[in-house]
Protein backbone atom coordinates (compact mmCIF):
# COMPACT_ATOMS: atom_id res chain seq x y z
CA UNK A 1 0.00 0.00 0.00
CA UNK A 2 2.90 2.31 0.80
CA UNK A 3 4.11 1.95 -2.77
CA UNK A 4 0.69 3.11 -4.04
CA UNK A 5 0.44 5.97 -1.55
CA UNK A 6 3.88 7.24 -2.53
CA UNK A 7 2.95 7.39 -6.20
CA UNK A 8 -0.48 8.95 -5.90
CA UNK A 9 0.87 12.39 -6.83
CA UNK A 10 2.78 11.06 -9.82
CA UNK A 11 1.79 12.95 -13.03
CA UNK A 12 0.66 9.68 -14.63
CA UNK A 13 -1.58 8.76 -11.66
CA UNK A 14 -4.57 10.62 -13.13
CA UNK A 15 -4.14 8.94 -16.51
CA UNK A 16 -3.90 5.48 -14.93
CA UNK A 17 -6.96 6.17 -12.76
CA UNK A 18 -8.95 7.35 -15.81
CA UNK A 19 -7.96 4.26 -17.80
CA UNK A 20 -8.97 1.92 -14.98
CA UNK A 21 -12.32 3.71 -14.64
CA UNK A 22 -13.02 3.58 -18.37
CA UNK A 23 -12.15 -0.11 -18.63
CA UNK A 24 -14.39 -0.97 -15.67
CA UNK A 25 -17.42 0.94 -17.06
CA UNK A 26 -16.88 -0.49 -20.55
CA UNK A 27 -16.58 -4.03 -19.23
CA UNK A 28 -19.67 -3.70 -17.05
CA UNK A 29 -21.65 -2.24 -19.97
CA UNK A 30 -20.64 -5.12 -22.25
CA UNK A 31 -21.66 -7.63 -19.57
CA UNK A 32 -25.12 -6.18 -19.03
CA UNK A 33 -26.16 -5.49 -22.62
CA UNK A 34 -26.25 -8.98 -24.05
CA UNK A 35 -29.56 -9.49 -25.84
CA UNK A 36 -31.44 -12.72 -26.25
CA UNK A 37 -33.03 -13.91 -29.47
CA UNK A 38 -36.60 -15.11 -29.83
CA UNK A 39 -38.31 -17.66 -32.03
CA UNK A 40 -41.78 -17.53 -33.50
CA UNK A 41 -44.46 -20.08 -32.70
CA UNK A 42 -47.77 -20.76 -34.34
CA UNK A 43 -50.80 -19.43 -32.46
CA UNK A 44 -53.25 -21.82 -30.84
CA UNK A 45 -56.48 -21.15 -28.96
CA UNK A 46 -54.76 -21.72 -25.63
CA UNK A 47 -52.03 -19.27 -26.59
CA UNK A 48 -54.68 -16.66 -27.30
CA UNK A 49 -56.37 -17.41 -23.97
CA UNK A 50 -53.09 -17.08 -22.02
CA UNK A 51 -52.21 -13.99 -24.05
CA UNK A 52 -55.51 -12.39 -23.09
CA UNK A 53 -54.70 -12.87 -19.40
CA UNK A 54 -51.21 -11.43 -19.81
CA UNK A 55 -52.66 -8.52 -21.77
CA UNK A 56 -55.25 -7.74 -19.12
CA UNK A 57 -52.58 -7.77 -16.42
CA UNK A 58 -49.81 -5.86 -18.22
CA UNK A 59 -51.10 -3.84 -21.15
CA UNK A 60 -54.78 -3.01 -20.59
CA UNK A 61 -54.12 0.07 -18.41
CA UNK A 62 -53.07 2.05 -21.47
CA UNK A 63 -54.31 0.00 -24.43
CA UNK A 64 -57.79 -0.76 -23.04
CA UNK A 65 -59.22 -4.05 -21.75
CA UNK A 66 -59.79 -5.42 -25.24
CA UNK A 67 -57.08 -3.45 -27.01
CA UNK A 68 -59.42 -0.62 -28.05
CA UNK A 69 -56.97 2.03 -26.82
CA UNK A 70 -57.39 4.88 -24.34
CA UNK A 71 -56.25 8.45 -23.83
CA UNK A 72 -52.84 7.21 -22.78
CA UNK A 73 -52.20 4.53 -25.38
CA UNK A 74 -53.12 3.71 -28.99
CA UNK A 75 -55.63 1.04 -29.95
CA UNK A 76 -54.10 -2.29 -30.95
CA UNK A 77 -56.89 -3.72 -33.09
CA UNK A 78 -55.35 -4.51 -36.48
CA UNK A 79 -51.71 -3.83 -35.56
CA UNK A 80 -51.04 -7.54 -35.95
CA UNK A 81 -48.93 -10.10 -34.12
CA UNK A 82 -45.82 -8.75 -35.79
CA UNK A 83 -46.07 -5.36 -34.02
CA UNK A 84 -46.43 -7.05 -30.61
CA UNK A 85 -43.54 -9.39 -31.27
CA UNK A 86 -41.36 -6.38 -32.13
CA UNK A 87 -42.44 -4.05 -29.31
CA UNK A 88 -42.45 -6.67 -26.55
CA UNK A 89 -39.59 -8.77 -27.95
CA UNK A 90 -37.19 -5.81 -28.00
CA UNK A 91 -38.33 -4.68 -24.53
CA UNK A 92 -39.83 -1.43 -25.80
CA UNK A 93 -43.19 -2.44 -24.33
CA UNK A 94 -44.40 -2.43 -21.60
CA UNK A 95 -43.36 1.20 -21.46
CA UNK A 96 -41.30 1.98 -18.37
CA UNK A 97 -41.40 5.77 -18.41
CA UNK A 98 -42.86 8.59 -20.43
CA UNK A 99 -40.46 10.05 -22.95
CA UNK A 100 -40.13 11.10 -26.56
CA UNK A 101 -40.08 7.44 -27.56
CA UNK A 102 -39.97 3.94 -26.03
CA UNK A 103 -36.44 2.72 -25.40
CA UNK A 104 -34.98 -0.73 -25.95
CA UNK A 105 -34.52 -2.52 -22.64
CA UNK A 106 -34.27 -6.06 -21.29
CA UNK A 107 -37.50 -7.81 -22.47
CA UNK A 108 -39.97 -8.26 -19.58
CA UNK A 109 -41.61 -11.36 -21.04
CA UNK A 110 -39.97 -14.57 -22.14
CA UNK A 111 -40.34 -15.93 -25.68
CA UNK A 112 -43.41 -18.00 -24.82
CA UNK A 113 -45.24 -15.11 -23.14
CA UNK A 114 -44.33 -12.79 -26.01
CA UNK A 115 -45.76 -15.32 -28.48
CA UNK A 116 -48.97 -15.60 -26.41
CA UNK A 117 -49.39 -11.81 -26.27
CA UNK A 118 -48.74 -11.59 -30.01
CA UNK A 119 -51.29 -14.35 -30.66
CA UNK A 120 -53.93 -12.52 -28.63
CA UNK A 121 -53.40 -9.11 -30.24
CA UNK A 122 -53.17 -10.79 -33.64
CA UNK A 123 -56.61 -12.33 -32.99
CA UNK A 124 -58.20 -8.89 -32.38
CA UNK A 125 -58.19 -7.95 -36.04
CA UNK A 126 -56.37 -8.69 -39.28
CA UNK A 127 -52.83 -7.32 -39.32
CA UNK A 128 -49.30 -8.29 -40.29
CA UNK A 129 -48.28 -11.70 -38.92
CA UNK A 130 -44.88 -12.62 -37.54
CA UNK A 131 -42.66 -13.12 -40.61
CA UNK A 132 -41.88 -16.63 -41.79
CA UNK A 133 -38.39 -17.99 -41.28
CA UNK A 134 -37.69 -18.15 -45.04
CA UNK A 135 -38.13 -14.38 -45.39
CA UNK A 136 -35.50 -13.74 -42.75
CA UNK A 137 -32.67 -15.88 -44.10
CA UNK A 138 -30.06 -13.21 -44.81
CA UNK A 139 -27.87 -15.72 -46.67
CA UNK A 140 -30.54 -15.86 -49.42
CA UNK A 141 -30.75 -12.06 -49.64
CA UNK A 142 -28.74 -9.85 -51.97
CA UNK A 143 -26.82 -7.31 -49.86
CA UNK A 144 -26.02 -5.14 -52.90
CA UNK A 145 -29.70 -4.77 -53.90
CA UNK A 146 -30.55 -4.31 -50.22
CA UNK A 147 -27.97 -1.51 -50.03
CA UNK A 148 -29.75 0.38 -52.82
CA UNK A 149 -33.10 0.00 -51.07
CA UNK A 150 -31.57 0.91 -47.70
CA UNK A 151 -29.97 4.09 -49.04
CA UNK A 152 -33.26 5.20 -50.64
CA UNK A 153 -35.69 4.23 -47.89
CA UNK A 154 -33.82 3.92 -44.59
CA UNK A 155 -30.47 5.72 -44.63
CA UNK A 156 -31.86 9.23 -44.14
CA UNK A 157 -32.82 8.35 -40.57
CA UNK A 158 -30.72 5.28 -39.73
CA UNK A 159 -27.43 6.46 -41.36
CA UNK A 160 -25.94 4.68 -44.40
CA UNK A 161 -24.40 1.92 -42.29
CA UNK A 162 -27.28 1.74 -39.80
CA UNK A 163 -25.53 3.68 -37.02
CA UNK A 164 -28.75 5.55 -36.20
CA UNK A 165 -29.40 9.27 -35.93
CA UNK A 166 -31.38 12.06 -34.30
CA UNK A 167 -34.94 13.08 -35.18
CA UNK A 168 -37.07 15.99 -33.94
CA UNK A 169 -37.68 16.82 -30.27
CA UNK A 170 -35.69 14.06 -28.57
CA UNK A 171 -36.77 11.22 -30.83
CA UNK A 172 -34.13 9.19 -32.61
CA UNK A 173 -33.68 6.42 -35.15
CA UNK A 174 -31.92 3.59 -33.29
CA UNK A 175 -28.62 1.95 -34.18
CA UNK A 176 -29.31 -1.23 -36.21
CA UNK A 177 -26.19 -3.10 -35.22
CA UNK A 178 -27.07 -6.34 -33.44
CA UNK A 179 -30.80 -6.12 -34.22
CA UNK A 180 -32.10 -9.54 -35.26
CA UNK A 181 -33.39 -10.10 -38.80
CA UNK A 182 -36.85 -10.82 -37.45
CA UNK A 183 -37.04 -7.52 -35.59
CA UNK A 184 -35.73 -5.64 -38.64
CA UNK A 185 -38.43 -7.25 -40.77
CA UNK A 186 -41.15 -6.52 -38.22
CA UNK A 187 -40.04 -2.90 -37.90
CA UNK A 188 -40.30 -2.36 -41.67
CA UNK A 189 -43.65 -4.14 -41.74
CA UNK A 190 -45.33 -2.36 -38.82
CA UNK A 191 -43.60 1.01 -38.51
CA UNK A 192 -42.99 1.15 -34.76
CA UNK A 193 -43.14 4.54 -33.01
CA UNK A 194 -42.52 7.24 -35.61
CA UNK A 195 -40.98 5.01 -38.25
CA UNK A 196 -43.10 4.96 -41.43
CA UNK A 197 -44.60 1.65 -42.53
CA UNK A 198 -42.98 -0.15 -45.48
CA UNK A 199 -45.71 -2.63 -46.41
CA UNK A 200 -45.29 -5.50 -48.87
CA UNK A 201 -46.42 -3.33 -51.81
CA UNK A 202 -43.60 -0.89 -51.08
CA UNK A 203 -40.82 -3.28 -50.07
CA UNK A 204 -41.73 -6.84 -51.06
CA UNK A 205 -40.76 -9.69 -48.69
CA UNK A 206 -37.76 -10.32 -50.98
CA UNK A 207 -36.81 -6.64 -50.79
CA UNK A 208 -37.01 -6.80 -47.00
CA UNK A 209 -34.76 -9.87 -46.98
CA UNK A 210 -32.25 -7.97 -49.12
CA UNK A 211 -32.35 -5.07 -46.67
CA UNK A 212 -31.73 -7.47 -43.77
CA UNK A 213 -28.80 -8.99 -45.68
CA UNK A 214 -27.36 -5.50 -46.23
CA UNK A 215 -27.76 -4.45 -42.58
CA UNK A 216 -26.08 -7.68 -41.42
CA UNK A 217 -23.30 -7.14 -43.93
CA UNK A 218 -22.47 -3.54 -42.97
CA UNK A 219 -22.94 -3.86 -39.23
CA UNK A 220 -20.81 -6.98 -38.99
CA UNK A 221 -18.02 -6.06 -41.39
CA UNK A 222 -14.65 -5.25 -39.83
CA UNK A 223 -13.39 -1.79 -40.69
CA UNK A 224 -10.50 -1.93 -43.20
CA UNK A 225 -8.33 0.06 -40.81
CA UNK A 226 -8.45 3.04 -38.52
CA UNK A 227 -11.13 4.10 -36.07
CA UNK A 228 -14.73 4.08 -37.29
CA UNK A 229 -15.81 6.55 -34.57
CA UNK A 230 -19.26 5.00 -34.57
CA UNK A 231 -19.59 5.54 -38.37
CA UNK A 232 -21.38 8.78 -37.49
CA UNK A 233 -19.65 10.78 -40.20
CA UNK A 234 -18.40 14.36 -40.11
CA UNK A 235 -19.62 15.28 -36.61
CA UNK A 236 -17.68 12.58 -34.79
CA UNK A 237 -14.70 12.92 -37.14
CA UNK A 238 -14.64 16.71 -36.78
CA UNK A 239 -14.83 16.47 -33.00
CA UNK A 240 -11.96 13.98 -32.98
CA UNK A 241 -9.68 16.08 -35.16
CA UNK A 242 -10.48 19.31 -33.26
CA UNK A 243 -9.66 17.78 -29.91
CA UNK A 244 -7.00 15.18 -30.62
CA UNK A 245 -5.53 16.37 -33.94
CA UNK A 246 -5.25 20.01 -32.90
CA UNK A 247 -4.24 18.95 -29.39
CA UNK A 248 -1.30 17.01 -30.84
CA UNK A 249 -0.33 19.97 -33.03
CA UNK A 250 -0.38 22.32 -30.02
CA UNK A 251 1.63 19.88 -27.90
CA UNK A 252 4.25 19.60 -30.67
CA UNK A 253 4.44 23.40 -31.01
CA UNK A 254 4.93 23.85 -27.27
CA UNK A 255 7.69 21.23 -27.32
CA UNK A 256 9.42 22.75 -30.37
CA UNK A 257 9.46 26.27 -28.94
CA UNK A 258 10.41 25.40 -25.36
CA UNK A 259 13.98 26.00 -24.21
CA UNK A 260 16.21 23.00 -23.94
CA UNK A 261 16.99 21.94 -20.36
Amino acid sequence: MKLLADRRRHPMALVVLLLVGLLLTGGAYALFTQTSSAKADTASASDIESGKKLFAANCATCHGLSGEGSKTGPGLIGVGASAVDFQVGTGRMPLQANGPQARVKEPQFNDEQTAQLAAYVGSLGPGPAIPAEENLDASKGDPAAGGGLFRTNCAMCHNVVGAGGALTRGKYAPNLSGVSGKHLYEAMQTGPQNMPIFNDANLTPDDKRDVIAYVNEVTQTTSPGGFKLGSLGPVAEGLFIWFFGLGAVIAMTVWLSSRAK
Binding site: T168, M195, P196, A260
Partner: protein, 347 residues
Amino acid sequence: MTSKEHSGGGSQLEELNGFTNPGLVEHVPRLSDGDPKADRVAERQVAAWFIASMIGTIWFIVSYFLFVPGESMSSIRLHNTSVGLGAALAMFSLGAGAVLWAKNLMSDHEGIDERHDISGSEEDQAVALEILHQAKEESGIARRPLLRNTLIAALAIAPLPAVLVFRDLGPLPGDMMFHTLWDKGVRLIRDPGGIPSADSERPIKAEDVTIGSAYHVLPSGIGADDGPDRPINEKAKAAVLLMRINPNELKEDPARKDWSHDGIVAYSKICTHVGCPVALYEHQTHHLLCPCHQSTFDVTEHCKVIFGPAKRPLPQLPITVDSEGYLVAQSDFAEPVGPTFWEINHP
Protein backbone atom coordinates in the same frame (compact mmCIF):
# COMPACT_ATOMS: atom_id res chain seq x y z
CA MET B 1 19.43 45.86 -39.58
CA THR B 2 21.54 45.67 -36.47
CA SER B 3 22.31 42.67 -34.39
CA LYS B 4 23.40 42.80 -30.81
CA GLU B 5 24.77 40.14 -28.58
CA HIS B 6 22.62 38.59 -25.93
CA SER B 7 23.47 39.81 -22.48
CA GLY B 8 21.69 39.54 -19.16
CA GLY B 9 19.04 42.17 -18.30
CA GLY B 10 19.49 44.70 -15.51
CA SER B 11 22.07 47.09 -16.91
CA GLN B 12 20.02 48.52 -19.80
CA LEU B 13 16.55 49.02 -18.29
CA GLU B 14 14.76 51.96 -19.87
CA GLU B 15 11.35 53.58 -19.61
CA LEU B 16 9.14 53.58 -22.71
CA ASN B 17 5.59 54.99 -22.69
CA GLY B 18 5.43 54.52 -18.93
CA PHE B 19 6.52 50.90 -19.08
CA THR B 20 9.87 49.65 -17.95
CA ASN B 21 11.56 47.41 -20.46
CA PRO B 22 12.12 44.21 -18.48
CA GLY B 23 15.14 43.34 -20.61
CA LEU B 24 16.00 39.85 -21.72
CA VAL B 25 15.70 36.61 -19.85
CA GLU B 26 19.05 35.48 -18.56
CA HIS B 27 20.78 32.84 -20.63
CA VAL B 28 20.82 29.50 -18.84
CA PRO B 29 23.32 26.96 -20.10
CA ARG B 30 21.85 23.56 -21.00
CA LEU B 31 22.73 20.34 -19.18
CA SER B 32 24.76 19.22 -22.14
CA ASP B 33 26.75 22.46 -22.23
CA GLY B 34 30.09 21.76 -20.61
CA ASP B 35 29.13 18.39 -19.13
CA PRO B 36 30.64 15.75 -21.43
CA LYS B 37 28.58 13.01 -19.80
CA ALA B 38 25.24 14.79 -20.38
CA ASP B 39 26.39 15.64 -23.89
CA ARG B 40 26.99 11.96 -24.61
CA VAL B 41 23.56 11.04 -23.20
CA ALA B 42 21.90 13.61 -25.45
CA GLU B 43 23.85 12.31 -28.42
CA ARG B 44 22.74 8.74 -27.72
CA GLN B 45 19.15 9.91 -27.33
CA VAL B 46 19.17 11.42 -30.82
CA ALA B 47 20.80 8.30 -32.23
CA ALA B 48 18.16 6.17 -30.52
CA TRP B 49 15.41 8.11 -32.32
CA PHE B 50 17.16 7.62 -35.64
CA ILE B 51 17.47 3.89 -34.93
CA ALA B 52 13.76 3.81 -34.04
CA SER B 53 13.09 5.41 -37.41
CA MET B 54 15.09 2.65 -39.10
CA ILE B 55 13.08 0.05 -37.20
CA GLY B 56 9.87 1.74 -38.41
CA THR B 57 11.06 1.62 -42.03
CA ILE B 58 12.08 -2.03 -41.75
CA TRP B 59 8.79 -2.80 -39.99
CA PHE B 60 6.94 -1.19 -42.90
CA ILE B 61 8.83 -3.29 -45.48
CA VAL B 62 8.52 -6.53 -43.52
CA SER B 63 4.81 -6.14 -42.76
CA TYR B 64 4.12 -5.11 -46.35
CA PHE B 65 5.21 -8.57 -47.44
CA LEU B 66 4.19 -10.45 -44.30
CA PHE B 67 0.56 -9.30 -44.05
CA VAL B 68 -0.70 -9.51 -47.62
CA PRO B 69 -4.26 -8.12 -47.86
CA GLY B 70 -6.55 -10.94 -48.91
CA GLU B 71 -10.29 -11.34 -49.36
CA SER B 72 -11.24 -10.83 -45.74
CA MET B 73 -11.65 -7.39 -44.22
CA SER B 74 -9.59 -8.34 -41.17
CA SER B 75 -6.56 -9.18 -43.34
CA ILE B 76 -6.88 -5.76 -45.04
CA ARG B 77 -7.20 -4.17 -41.62
CA LEU B 78 -4.07 -5.94 -40.36
CA HIS B 79 -2.13 -4.88 -43.47
CA ASN B 80 -3.24 -1.23 -43.28
CA THR B 81 -2.68 -0.94 -39.55
CA SER B 82 0.80 -2.49 -39.47
CA VAL B 83 2.04 -0.65 -42.56
CA GLY B 84 0.62 2.60 -41.17
CA LEU B 85 2.23 2.15 -37.78
CA GLY B 86 5.58 1.41 -39.45
CA ALA B 87 5.39 4.56 -41.57
CA ALA B 88 4.30 6.64 -38.57
CA LEU B 89 7.18 5.37 -36.42
CA ALA B 90 9.72 5.97 -39.22
CA MET B 91 8.60 9.55 -39.92
CA PHE B 92 7.92 10.66 -36.34
CA SER B 93 11.24 9.31 -35.01
CA LEU B 94 13.16 11.02 -37.80
CA GLY B 95 11.55 14.35 -36.90
CA ALA B 96 11.87 13.87 -33.15
CA GLY B 97 15.58 13.00 -33.49
CA ALA B 98 16.20 16.08 -35.63
CA VAL B 99 14.41 18.35 -33.14
CA LEU B 100 16.30 16.91 -30.15
CA TRP B 101 19.61 17.29 -32.03
CA ALA B 102 18.85 20.95 -32.72
CA LYS B 103 17.66 21.66 -29.19
CA ASN B 104 20.26 19.81 -27.14
CA LEU B 105 23.43 19.62 -29.22
CA MET B 106 23.57 22.36 -31.85
CA SER B 107 24.88 25.86 -31.05
CA ASP B 108 23.02 27.55 -28.18
CA HIS B 109 23.93 31.06 -29.27
CA GLU B 110 21.03 33.52 -28.72
CA GLY B 111 20.92 36.69 -30.81
CA ILE B 112 18.50 39.55 -31.46
CA ASP B 113 17.75 41.09 -34.84
CA GLU B 114 16.30 44.61 -34.39
CA ARG B 115 13.50 45.60 -36.72
CA HIS B 116 14.35 48.57 -38.98
CA ASP B 117 12.23 51.76 -39.06
CA ILE B 118 9.08 51.61 -41.15
CA SER B 119 9.67 55.01 -42.87
CA GLY B 120 12.47 55.33 -45.43
CA SER B 121 15.35 57.74 -45.09
CA GLU B 122 14.76 61.45 -45.90
CA GLU B 123 16.82 61.25 -49.07
CA ASP B 124 14.78 58.29 -50.34
CA GLN B 125 11.53 60.15 -49.65
CA ALA B 126 12.76 63.26 -51.50
CA VAL B 127 13.75 61.19 -54.55
CA ALA B 128 10.31 59.49 -54.66
CA LEU B 129 8.51 62.86 -54.44
CA GLU B 130 10.73 64.28 -57.17
CA ILE B 131 9.79 61.36 -59.48
CA LEU B 132 6.08 61.95 -58.88
CA HIS B 133 6.36 65.70 -59.56
CA GLN B 134 8.30 65.06 -62.71
CA ALA B 135 5.71 62.57 -63.96
CA LYS B 136 2.91 65.07 -63.32
CA GLU B 137 4.76 67.87 -65.19
CA GLU B 138 5.85 65.78 -68.16
CA SER B 139 2.53 63.99 -68.75
CA GLY B 140 0.59 67.24 -68.27
CA ILE B 141 -2.26 65.32 -66.67
CA ALA B 142 -3.19 68.33 -64.51
CA ARG B 143 -3.22 70.72 -67.47
CA ARG B 144 -5.19 68.48 -69.84
CA PRO B 145 -8.54 67.50 -68.19
CA LEU B 146 -9.87 66.10 -71.48
CA LEU B 147 -7.16 63.44 -71.56
CA ARG B 148 -7.59 62.71 -67.85
CA ASN B 149 -11.36 62.26 -68.07
CA THR B 150 -11.35 60.14 -71.22
CA LEU B 151 -8.65 57.92 -69.67
CA ILE B 152 -10.76 57.37 -66.55
CA ALA B 153 -13.83 56.56 -68.67
CA ALA B 154 -11.87 54.13 -70.85
CA LEU B 155 -10.53 52.30 -67.81
CA ALA B 156 -13.99 52.16 -66.24
CA ILE B 157 -15.63 50.39 -69.19
CA ALA B 158 -12.66 48.16 -70.07
CA PRO B 159 -13.81 45.23 -67.79
CA LEU B 160 -17.26 45.06 -69.45
CA PRO B 161 -16.25 42.52 -72.16
CA ALA B 162 -15.06 40.20 -69.36
CA VAL B 163 -18.50 40.39 -67.74
CA LEU B 164 -20.03 39.67 -71.16
CA VAL B 165 -17.98 36.50 -71.78
CA PHE B 166 -19.04 35.09 -68.40
CA ARG B 167 -22.24 34.18 -70.21
CA ASP B 168 -20.26 31.69 -72.28
CA LEU B 169 -19.13 29.76 -69.20
CA GLY B 170 -22.19 27.56 -69.48
CA PRO B 171 -25.71 27.46 -70.83
CA LEU B 172 -28.10 29.71 -68.92
CA PRO B 173 -30.60 27.73 -66.85
CA GLY B 174 -33.51 29.02 -68.92
CA ASP B 175 -36.80 27.70 -67.50
CA MET B 176 -35.08 24.57 -66.12
CA MET B 177 -35.58 25.81 -62.56
CA PHE B 178 -39.33 26.17 -63.05
CA HIS B 179 -40.21 22.76 -64.51
CA THR B 180 -39.78 19.13 -63.57
CA LEU B 181 -40.74 15.90 -65.33
CA TRP B 182 -44.09 15.87 -63.50
CA ASP B 183 -47.04 16.62 -65.74
CA LYS B 184 -50.73 15.85 -66.03
CA GLY B 185 -51.28 12.09 -65.98
CA VAL B 186 -47.67 11.08 -65.20
CA ARG B 187 -47.73 8.00 -62.96
CA LEU B 188 -45.96 7.92 -59.62
CA ILE B 189 -43.39 5.09 -59.57
CA ARG B 190 -41.25 3.75 -56.72
CA ASP B 191 -37.72 5.13 -56.52
CA PRO B 192 -35.61 2.00 -57.16
CA GLY B 193 -32.53 3.70 -55.70
CA GLY B 194 -29.51 4.97 -57.61
CA ILE B 195 -29.80 6.07 -61.24
CA PRO B 196 -33.31 5.32 -62.53
CA SER B 197 -33.52 3.06 -65.57
CA ALA B 198 -36.43 2.55 -67.96
CA ASP B 199 -37.08 -1.14 -67.26
CA SER B 200 -37.63 -1.08 -63.50
CA GLU B 201 -40.77 1.03 -63.23
CA ARG B 202 -43.16 0.01 -60.47
CA PRO B 203 -46.23 2.29 -60.42
CA ILE B 204 -48.10 2.71 -57.14
CA LYS B 205 -51.76 1.97 -56.55
CA ALA B 206 -53.61 4.21 -54.10
CA GLU B 207 -54.75 1.17 -52.11
CA ASP B 208 -51.12 0.11 -51.54
CA VAL B 209 -50.35 3.30 -49.66
CA THR B 210 -51.64 2.38 -46.21
CA ILE B 211 -51.92 4.94 -43.42
CA GLY B 212 -48.47 5.54 -41.96
CA SER B 213 -46.68 4.48 -45.14
CA ALA B 214 -43.99 6.54 -46.80
CA TYR B 215 -42.99 5.96 -50.44
CA HIS B 216 -40.00 7.47 -52.19
CA VAL B 217 -41.37 8.40 -55.57
CA LEU B 218 -40.19 9.42 -59.06
CA PRO B 219 -42.17 10.33 -62.21
CA SER B 220 -42.80 7.55 -64.71
CA GLY B 221 -40.51 7.82 -67.74
CA ILE B 222 -37.59 9.29 -65.82
CA GLY B 223 -35.38 6.37 -66.85
CA ALA B 224 -35.80 7.04 -70.60
CA ASP B 225 -32.39 7.12 -72.20
CA ASP B 226 -32.12 10.73 -73.43
CA GLY B 227 -28.47 11.43 -72.75
CA PRO B 228 -26.17 10.12 -70.04
CA ASP B 229 -26.91 12.58 -67.23
CA ARG B 230 -30.59 13.16 -67.79
CA PRO B 231 -32.11 10.62 -65.38
CA ILE B 232 -29.95 11.71 -62.44
CA ASN B 233 -30.42 15.44 -63.17
CA GLU B 234 -34.17 15.02 -63.45
CA LYS B 235 -34.24 12.94 -60.27
CA ALA B 236 -32.57 15.81 -58.43
CA LYS B 237 -35.64 17.97 -59.17
CA ALA B 238 -38.50 15.49 -59.38
CA ALA B 239 -37.93 13.38 -56.22
CA VAL B 240 -41.12 13.22 -54.18
CA LEU B 241 -42.14 11.75 -50.85
CA LEU B 242 -45.59 10.16 -50.75
CA MET B 243 -47.35 9.71 -47.41
CA ARG B 244 -50.82 8.71 -46.27
CA ILE B 245 -52.31 10.42 -43.27
CA ASN B 246 -55.70 9.93 -41.67
CA PRO B 247 -57.80 12.52 -43.59
CA ASN B 248 -59.18 13.86 -40.26
CA GLU B 249 -55.66 14.95 -39.30
CA LEU B 250 -55.06 16.94 -42.50
CA LYS B 251 -55.68 20.68 -42.21
CA GLU B 252 -56.02 21.50 -45.88
CA ASP B 253 -56.39 24.84 -47.59
CA PRO B 254 -59.81 24.72 -49.36
CA ALA B 255 -58.14 25.86 -52.61
CA ARG B 256 -55.81 22.87 -52.51
CA LYS B 257 -58.30 20.35 -51.13
CA ASP B 258 -58.31 18.26 -54.32
CA TRP B 259 -54.48 18.09 -54.50
CA SER B 260 -54.50 15.09 -52.18
CA HIS B 261 -56.28 11.76 -52.61
CA ASP B 262 -58.05 10.29 -49.59
CA GLY B 263 -55.29 11.41 -47.20
CA ILE B 264 -52.47 10.57 -49.62
CA VAL B 265 -50.22 13.60 -50.04
CA ALA B 266 -47.11 14.09 -52.17
CA TYR B 267 -44.44 16.70 -51.43
CA SER B 268 -41.16 17.60 -53.09
CA LYS B 269 -38.24 15.95 -51.30
CA ILE B 270 -35.87 18.84 -52.09
CA CYS B 271 -35.46 21.19 -49.13
CA THR B 272 -36.36 24.82 -49.82
CA HIS B 273 -33.33 25.92 -47.78
CA VAL B 274 -30.32 24.56 -49.68
CA GLY B 275 -31.72 21.52 -51.43
CA CYS B 276 -30.92 18.53 -49.21
CA PRO B 277 -33.33 15.57 -49.50
CA VAL B 278 -35.97 16.02 -46.78
CA ALA B 279 -37.12 12.50 -46.03
CA LEU B 280 -36.94 11.94 -42.28
CA TYR B 281 -40.67 11.40 -41.90
CA GLU B 282 -42.20 10.75 -38.49
CA HIS B 283 -45.53 9.08 -39.09
CA GLN B 284 -47.07 9.90 -35.69
CA THR B 285 -46.14 13.59 -35.41
CA HIS B 286 -46.23 14.08 -39.20
CA HIS B 287 -43.01 16.05 -39.00
CA LEU B 288 -40.64 15.99 -41.95
CA LEU B 289 -37.08 16.75 -40.88
CA CYS B 290 -34.23 17.86 -43.10
CA PRO B 291 -31.02 16.19 -41.91
CA CYS B 292 -28.71 19.01 -43.02
CA HIS B 293 -29.94 22.01 -41.00
CA GLN B 294 -32.89 20.61 -39.06
CA SER B 295 -35.60 22.48 -40.98
CA THR B 296 -38.85 20.82 -39.93
CA PHE B 297 -42.03 20.77 -41.99
CA ASP B 298 -45.56 19.92 -40.83
CA VAL B 299 -47.07 17.54 -43.38
CA THR B 300 -50.60 18.06 -42.03
CA GLU B 301 -50.50 21.78 -42.91
CA HIS B 302 -49.13 21.76 -46.44
CA CYS B 303 -45.56 21.25 -45.16
CA LYS B 304 -45.31 24.68 -43.58
CA VAL B 305 -41.97 25.35 -41.88
CA ILE B 306 -42.23 24.86 -38.11
CA PHE B 307 -38.53 24.95 -37.28
CA GLY B 308 -35.18 25.71 -38.88
CA PRO B 309 -33.75 27.94 -41.59
CA ALA B 310 -36.04 27.02 -44.52
CA LYS B 311 -38.19 29.98 -45.56
CA ARG B 312 -41.01 28.48 -47.63
CA PRO B 313 -43.06 25.27 -47.45
CA LEU B 314 -42.10 22.24 -49.51
CA PRO B 315 -43.96 22.44 -52.86
CA GLN B 316 -46.91 20.05 -53.04
CA LEU B 317 -47.46 17.79 -56.03
CA PRO B 318 -51.18 17.65 -56.91
CA ILE B 319 -52.15 13.98 -57.32
CA THR B 320 -55.18 11.89 -58.21
CA VAL B 321 -55.85 8.33 -59.42
CA ASP B 322 -56.24 7.18 -63.03
CA SER B 323 -58.84 4.72 -64.35
CA GLU B 324 -56.70 1.72 -63.33
CA GLY B 325 -56.30 2.90 -59.74
CA TYR B 326 -52.70 4.05 -60.09
CA LEU B 327 -51.63 7.35 -58.57
CA VAL B 328 -50.91 10.06 -61.18
CA ALA B 329 -49.91 13.71 -61.03
CA GLN B 330 -52.51 16.35 -61.87
CA SER B 331 -49.83 18.73 -63.13
CA ASP B 332 -46.29 19.86 -62.48
CA PHE B 333 -45.47 21.57 -59.17
CA ALA B 334 -47.17 24.96 -58.94
CA GLU B 335 -43.91 26.60 -57.85
CA PRO B 336 -40.19 25.86 -58.37
CA VAL B 337 -38.76 23.13 -56.14
CA GLY B 338 -35.60 23.46 -54.09
CA PRO B 339 -33.80 26.50 -52.73
CA THR B 340 -35.29 29.89 -53.36
CA PHE B 341 -33.51 32.05 -55.96
CA TRP B 342 -33.73 35.70 -57.04
CA GLU B 343 -35.94 35.26 -60.09
CA ILE B 344 -38.33 32.79 -58.41
CA ASN B 345 -41.36 35.05 -58.95
CA HIS B 346 -40.43 35.98 -62.54
CA PRO B 347 -40.40 32.86 -64.71
